[in-house]
Symmetry: D2
């Protein structure tokens, strides 16, 4: 994973640029006409002659200067009347705002004839060993990997693997929809998902089982209560509750029920998701176009370390078709690394590689007593 | 399109069945343990010895008997404490509830070797002439075709065709998300969608244009105001406003803005969608998995005519991949007819066939003066 | 896997049926007008009052009665002038030919509302444990599993897994195209496939490497020579050569080179493939539409055991998209079980499960000394 | 469509470069070790101090200097022992061979944040008007557009549209496989394709109809005879025969029959295809991965005009999925413009736009008598 240094702001083009201009928002949730529209790339704003990075970066938002002189990236709907909003269309620093695209988007053109240059293809190899090392490194350094998953993960055997990742400390937060929790809980209570058995058979009367699962949890009052009362005894939601891993269940118009705890207001859901996105040091998006793109919109392309240095935010997007990954990139999440495969198989192999890497590290530690003693 | 007669309820299995049993809901939004879970098929409930169909049928809901003796299909979340809810797991009438599956699901097995038997395939022909006749028939009989569309429709030239259908009386209601309206309004104001020109080029600085479009409408206070003030001058939303075609914009966690008028609460959005779904006499679902499946969940598989007779609800689902159509069917919307193609091309050819059929009918009328005089 | 009993030919409809009629072919490769066109289902022909099954069954062919009274299924192009060809359109036995479809195609209709009833979907679980048991059972009983693979298998890490299966006795024959061998040999000589490294990078000058690999093998005269001379030192083709596993490389118009040993005549290639297809007791089709459908066309839906009994021919079709599997079924290979995933991941997990099952069987044998002694 | 000027060969890097080196081929079909492997880009070879372009450019081949001093691009298999073959790995001119990539591959990197930058996506608009103008321009200037089609074109209504293009002079040559002709002829004789009716129903007994169609043509001896004898009365092959449009039917291992005239040897088929590819001034590849990539391999990325100037070879690739188009590009046909849609719809709209453009040009000519008189 790449790390990046900040631009040299002593260069004349930066030194001579004017300060960014701020204009008060004319009404709650309405921005000044020429507001600056953010990207997910490292962005620097000149205030009082100094170039500074706003906090909580994301795309499709704007930059607000608060009363304490702090810069924030804020969604339009969360800007209040009178808030000071950065204006300008230029991203080259000339209007006091600089978007540092080169570092991340790079320079790919070469005018050379090559095969296999597409960015996303099922024909590209998948480096599970690298992903396993990244995940373990995150756990070791206390990182905050967010997992964003669709219901395909639960329809298949991957439910057990996801549960394992939660139980073993690899999940900072789980962002999903009502359906993931519904299928997971149906599986815990009835052993089916949408009435389909673990071997893929549709069962007679099975079409109502997810509704019965929802009803039991609604009767219990919350997922936490349903776990406490022994209604939910295993699986993804159970693991989140017993291991204290935070989760956000965001509502959609496809939802049955919904389960207690689901955010039915999508603006509130976005705010809840973003509280995790701003902390993310890695993102794993599996088998969901809606939630993956929603999260991608909120994620910066980079992690800001405590010492102010930057590194790419590892973003893995898994889907059965090239289209979802390309769409994510087309919506601006250029840093996403696409894995075109079945979610069930992805989870199974990733877990296998993580287990192998853990064994290898344990063996290496055992072989070097000094290191082990540290 | 098939029509169906009701079962013969004088048959012994129906005559001898007991009345359905109803149990009060234990709390708001919580059903009795053995509640009956509905399908989208014709369903009959025995009350006071008579078999009756509940109103507003849909799947994944339950059946409530109100104080006036009327039967309703209600979503779990809309059932109040004490409401009388039908209970039972059997769908064969023995517990007083009969789901008439045979009429619709038919008997497809034959044990005969054939090619090309898959239900959904890009290799199957598309009968645009039939779809055009259905649409015109609906307009002539005063039907209520609902259109459910995704943003792909707006990214491409299909925007003009959709606008044409709205302007010419072929749209009972439009159900879509924030993005459809955002792209459509960006196209009206800036001539781009997500900063992409009509010829498919990404423009410099274009990534902020959809945010600027949203901001202008938020400043105007509503889409209707923005039309009145000349901010939005053409396109899909403009056509809905000036022709008085109702629309529902349902929120999702991917939404930027959102635009004024978008339902951010998904339960409210579902209620708003369903007010149109219960009136639907035809459904056209184009290029959206989320909204298509959400609407499919709310639609019965049939239309109940004023005289009580039933006919299949024509449901057309258009997507670039077989997967979305198969998924819609896997979620129970078995009546969906799948068209595997590009949304832009679908809209263009459908309009062409509708125009031709209109010309042919006008010519036929002109040739029979008596008919024309009616 | 299902087994099937033969029909009861003492039933009047069979006993009273007339003998099949045979008409001489009018010219080489031309059939009599009303020739019987075969399917891949169990088929019985009444000759001299007795119902018999023709040998080497496949679809899209015809039935020939040879001078020794033996019945054969023969492709049109392989029928000679004067050969006696069965005629008739009926498959119900009335004209002396009976196609036993019920046993295999079954009776699937039930008129019951269910979710998840589609035949092929990425949302269905994949039973690797079952596939692993089937493969090992085939090895134990001396079966003949044919593997049909596309080049995606070689682009990715699955090359090592395929090599493992060959080396460990799980491959009766390998059917593939020129490209599989070319990529595999490029990987052995240069470490790349189409110039792409194992980590997915396109290399400078890499576009010519597959041509250089081909040229080296052409210079050596054959793949076998290239192995003997140490040009090819590992991989799939190397394993076939050193383990004596037969392979067929069928040509296509996409081929570069081709490699020595590739059948450039497609009729000869089909004959070579069929020599393995008639022996197949299991078929695994991975990541190739062309070769999978070609092989599917040649395969009966069943295996005829030595005692004359029938069982379903396990046919597994792996592809990244539902479309290829559906197309295979639409071309008549109804028995295919579809696995919608990435070929690389499929191979890796399948091998893992086979290894586990082997360990489990070894452990079970060790625990039961009597059994081990047998 | 872009045009390109040749490099300035007076520049020192070209003037000072050495002549290309040629080495005799060691055996028939075997190249010298360091042979130069071609691309589809404009390529210049320094011979006798002058930079010249070899004739009949294509990728994955080599450059041969014949006895008359002419340079040819030749496939490995068509090089004879002793032929003088260009050697070298450099493409920058330093070894006497220059590949002019910049002109075509351009410089795409900008380090700027944008949406919708993917090359191939169903969300991109399709400019049918431009394609229609290109096709008519080709007809007017006497160009040679080659059409490469898969069987999906025949399964659906597009058969009539393809027939129209052939009949109206828009097809220089048709390159396809056995299946296209088989389905087309089945449609002419029986009204079905693979037994499926025009409205998509599988017919009883229909699985044998394509075999019966093949048998009739084999009995007639050739497609031409079958047209002459009134067996084939309409459709694509009929149009080719009656309008004298050349066609190549290339064999594959999936072929039934095959029909008379199909090249069963794939090397001969490639040679036959290439005789048209070297004349191509435009390429339209519809619904076929195999034939599209095979043809893409043979096509230069450019057309050499009679005056020696170069222009991009318009290459349109139509498929239902992004994958095929991306794969074509990944195999080096970078100039392909992808249209992600259903083949049936593509053909129908393209024809409509061509008809409109023809009407518009006719009207324009009628309005300018002087021009009409020319």
């Amino acid at each position: 994973m790449s790390t990046f240094s900040h631009p040299d702001f002593t260069a004349p083009r930066f030194a001579e640029a004017r300060d960014a201009r701020f204009v008060p928002a004319p009404a709650d949730g309405v921005l000044p006409q020429d507001f600056f529209s953010t990207t997910n790339l490292p962005t620097y704003v000149k205030v009082g002659g100094a170039w500074r990075m706003p906090r909580e970066p994301r795309m499709d938002a704007t930059i607000v200067l608060d009363d304490r002189g702090e810069l924030w990236v804020r969604e339009m709907r969360n800007v209040g009347k009178g808030d000071r909003v950065a204006v300008g269309h230029s991203e080259d620093g000339s209007e006091g705002i600089f978007v540092y695209g080169d570092a991340f988007l790079g320079d790919s053109a070469e005018g050379e004839f090559k095969f296999m240059t597409s960015e996303v293809s099922r024909e590209k190899p998948i480096d599970y060993a690298l992903m396993a090392r990244l995940l373990i490194d995150e756990r070791e350094r206390g990182g905050y990997p967010i997992w964003v998953t669709g219901p395909a993960l639960v329809h298949s055997r991957a439910r057990a693997d996801m549960t394992w990742f939660i139980g073993n400390g690899f999940v900072g937060a789980l962002l999903a929809g009502n359906a993931v929790a519904v299928h997971d809980i149906e599986a815990s209570i009835f052993g089916t998902t949408l009435g389909m058995t673990g071997s893929g058979e549709a069962t007679s009367g099975g079409h109502g089982l997810h509704m019965r699962a929802i009803n039991q949890v609604r009767a219990a009052g919350s997922i936490e209560n349903a776990v406490a009362q022994g209604i939910i005894t295993d699986g993804i939601m159970h693991a989140c509750v017993v291991h204290g891993v935070p989760y956000v269940l965001s509502g959609s118009i496809r939802d049955d029920g919904p389960l207690p705890g689901v955010y039915t207001d999508v603006a509130e859901a976005q705010d809840a998701m973003r509280r995790h996105a701003v902390k993310a040091t890695m993102a794993i998006l599996v088998a969901t176009a809606l939630h993956a793109i929603a999260t991608g919109n909120m994620l910066p392309a980079f992690v800001t370390e405590e010492d102010g240095s930057l590194r790419e935010l590892p973003t893995i997007c898994v889907d059965s078709s090239e289209f979802v990954v390309s769409k994510l990139k087309d919506r601006g999440t250029h840093q996403a690394f696409g894995v075109v495969t079945n979610a069930q198989d992805f989870m199974h192999i990733l877990r296998l590689y993580v287990e192998r890497e853990l064994d290898a590290r344990a063996a290496a530690r055992a072989a070097t007593p000094a290191a082990a003693a540290r």
